[in-house]
Symmetry: C2
C-alpha cells in the first residue's frame, strides 16, 4: 500500500481503533494521537490503545482525548513492526489488525494490508502525509504530536535515518504550531534529579572491549531502586556506550521492572544493530535495535552479548 | 546591510581576509571556511584567521585550504559580536574590519558595514544565502562547513533559535552533500574517554539553589589535568545544569587553561542569559550567554553569580 491507497481506505472507515506497540515511545504514541485527532476532526469515531501505560512524559499527547475504545469496527496499528510487539494487546487484537502503518525495515507482516516505508525516519512522517492527503486540518495539537514522534525517533535530528524530507516536514510542523524548542527541551534537555543520578551510576558500569570497538553499560534493578528513576528515565542511557570514540557497537543490558533482561544495541556503520540482535530473536533498525533474554541473568546476557559482539566484529573484518 | 547589498560588496572585492572570533566554535569556523571556499571558487584571493588555534575536532573544515593571509586588501568578520572577541587579532585588525556578518542580538558595531540578522540561528545560515546570491556553487565541502555551523549553534536543532528556515536550509545542505549523520555523530554523539571521565567529574560538582530554579557546575583546572581533557572537550558541560527539571538558569564556572575564570549561562524562558551576563560585562543570546571574571577566583566568581541569580530571579518574580 502507499499513501493514497491508505488514504482511500481510511476515508471509507468511520469507527477505528489505533494500536500502539508495547513499551511505547514517542513515535508510536505521537502517531496514534495525531491520527485519532485527525480522524475525529473529520467526524469519525476513533480511539487508541496500548499494551502498556502511557509514560508521564508523553501524557500531553493525549490531553483532551477522552477514551472511546469499545467495540471498534476497524483496527489499525501504527509503528508496530511485529504482532508480538503489541504486548498485552496481541491476544485480543493481534489477528484483527486490518491495516498496519509502519517504517521498520524489519517489519514482519501480520495484517492483510500494510503501508510500510523503511526510508521514513518516523511513522509520524507517514501520518503527516496521510492526514494531508485526507484533507484533515493539521492543528497545533496534531503538529505537536507529529513533531514529538519525529524528534524521538531521530534523537532530535541526529540519527542516520534523517532525510531532507524529515527536515522539510519539521519546518512545516513548526509553521503549523509545533512548539519545537519546548518539545526538544522537555524530551531531550530535561532530566529529573533521579534520572541525572541514575545516569551517573550507569556511566560507572561502562566496559570497553574488542580493542575499543565495542562498549557496554549495565542497568541493574538496584539503580532504579536507589535513585527512584523510572524505566522511561533510563531510555537515554542506551546511547552512552556508542558515544565513546572508536566504538561501533554499543550495548546496554537492562534488568526491567518485571525482572526480564533486555538489551539495546546501537551501531555505527558498517556494524548493523539489527543483525546482531537478530541472533537473539530481536530486531529493529541498522543503527538501533533490541532483543530480550527471558531466561537469563544480567551476567549471562552480558556474557552472550560480548561473545556475539566479538564474533560479529571479526566476521565484519573489524 | 542585507544579503543583496553584502553580495554586491563582496563581488566587488578580490582579495579578502575572513576573521573568526577567539575561542572559536563551529559557527564562526564553518562560516569562514565556507566563505573562503566559495570566494576562491569564484576566482578571488581569500583566506581566514583566528586569534586562537582551530580545535582538532574542527580541522576537517579547513582540509585542503592552504593559508594565504598576507596583506589582504579587505577584511570581513564572521560571527564576531564585538571587536574585543577577536582576541589576539583585535590589535592588528580590530580597526580594519570593513564588513561584519553576524547573528548576535548583542552585536556591538565595530565596522563601517554590518549585516546582522539576530533571527538567524547561525551565521552559517547567512553565509548560505550569501553564497547562493553570489552564484557560488555550494560544493559538498561547503555544505559540510555550513551544516557544521548550523548544528553547533543550535545544539543540533534543539535550541529556541531554530526556525523553519533552519530546517529548510538543513534539507538543502543534505541534498548538496552535507554528511548530516556523520557530523551529528562526530560533534554530538562522540566523546573521548578523557571527555567522558571529565564530564562525570563535572556532574559531581552540581549544586542546585534558588528553590531548584538555578543550578551550577564548576570546572576547576584539576579536572582537565586529571583526565587529560581539552577545553573543547568540556564545551558540552555548559548544558548540564539547565537540564535538571525546574531549573531556568544554569551556570557553568570554568577555570580556563590560562587561569582566567569564565562563566557560561544557559536560560529557559522567561529568564534571559544575556541579561544576567550583561551584569558582568558579558553578553550573548537569550538562551545562552557568557562572561569573564579576569580578577577573580573560582570561588569568588561562583559566589557573585549565585547572588546575581537570586536577585535576577526575584526581579523576574520567580
Amino acid at each position: 500500500m502507499n499513501c493514497e491507497e491508505t488514504c482511500v481506505l481510511l476515508q471509507s472507515w468511520d469507527d477505528l481503533l489505533i494500536l500502539c506497540h508495547a513499551s511505547p515511545d514517542g513515535d508510536t504514541l505521537g502517531s496514534a494521537a495525531a491520527l485519532v485527532r485527525g480522524l475525529r476532526a473529520m467526524g469519525k469515531r476513533a480511539s487508541f490503545a496500548c499494551g502498556d501505560p502511557v509514560p508521564a512524559k508523553y501524557a500531553y499527547l493525549f490531553e483532551g482525548l477522552e477514551d472511546l475504545s469499545d467495540a471498534p469496527a476497524h483496527i489499525v496499528s501504527v509503528d508496530v513492526a511485529d504482532a508480538k510487539l503489541l504486548g498485552d494487546l496481541e491476544a485480543p487484537y493481534g489477528q484483527r489488525v486490518e491495516l498496519a502503518i509502519d517504517h521498520h525495515g524489519t517489519h514482519v507482516p501480520f495484517s492483510p494490508r500494510c503501508w510500510n516505508e523503511p526510508d521514513s525516519a518516523a511513522t509520524c512522517e507517514l501520518i503527516y502525509q496521510l492526514l494531508k492527503a485526507m484533507g484533515a486540518a493539521i492543528t497545533p495539537d496534531i503538529a505537536r504530536c507529529l513533531f514529538t514522534g519525529i524528534i524521538t525517533d531521530t534523537g532530535c535530528f541526529r540519527y542516520s535515518n534523517v532525510t531532507p524530507r524529515t527536515h522539510r516536514i519539521a519546518a512545516e510542523l513548526m509553521e503549523l504550531g509545533a512548539p519545537a524548542d519546548e518539545l526538544a527541551r522537555r524530551l531531550f534537555e530535561t532530566k529529573s534529579r533521579a534520572q541525572a543520578e541514575a545516569e551517573r551510576m550507569v556511566l560507572e558500569t561502562m566496559e570497553i572491549f574488542c580493542d575499543g570497538k565495542a562498549a557496554m553499560v549495565q542497568v541493574p534493578a538496584r539503580i532504579r531502586q536507589e535513585t527512584g528513576a523510572q524505566d522511561s528515565d533510563l531510555e537515554g542511557v542506551a546511547s552512552f556506550p556508542r558515544q565513546v570514540e572508536g566504538v561501533v557497537l554499543g550495548v546496554t543490558v537492562k534488568e526491567k521492572a518485571d525482572g526480564e533482561i533486555h538489551a539495546s544495541v546501537r551501531a555505527n556503520p558498517p556494524a548493523d544493530a539489527a543483525a546482531l540482535c537478530g541472533q537473539f530473536g530481536g530486531g529493529g533498525h541498522t543503527g538501533a535495535a533490541g532483543c530480550s533474554f527471558p531466561d537469563d541473568t544480567m551476567e549471562g546476557a552480558a556474557r552472550k552479548l560480548k561473545a556475539a559482539c566479538a564474533a560479529y566484529l571479526e566476521a565484519l573484518g573489524l
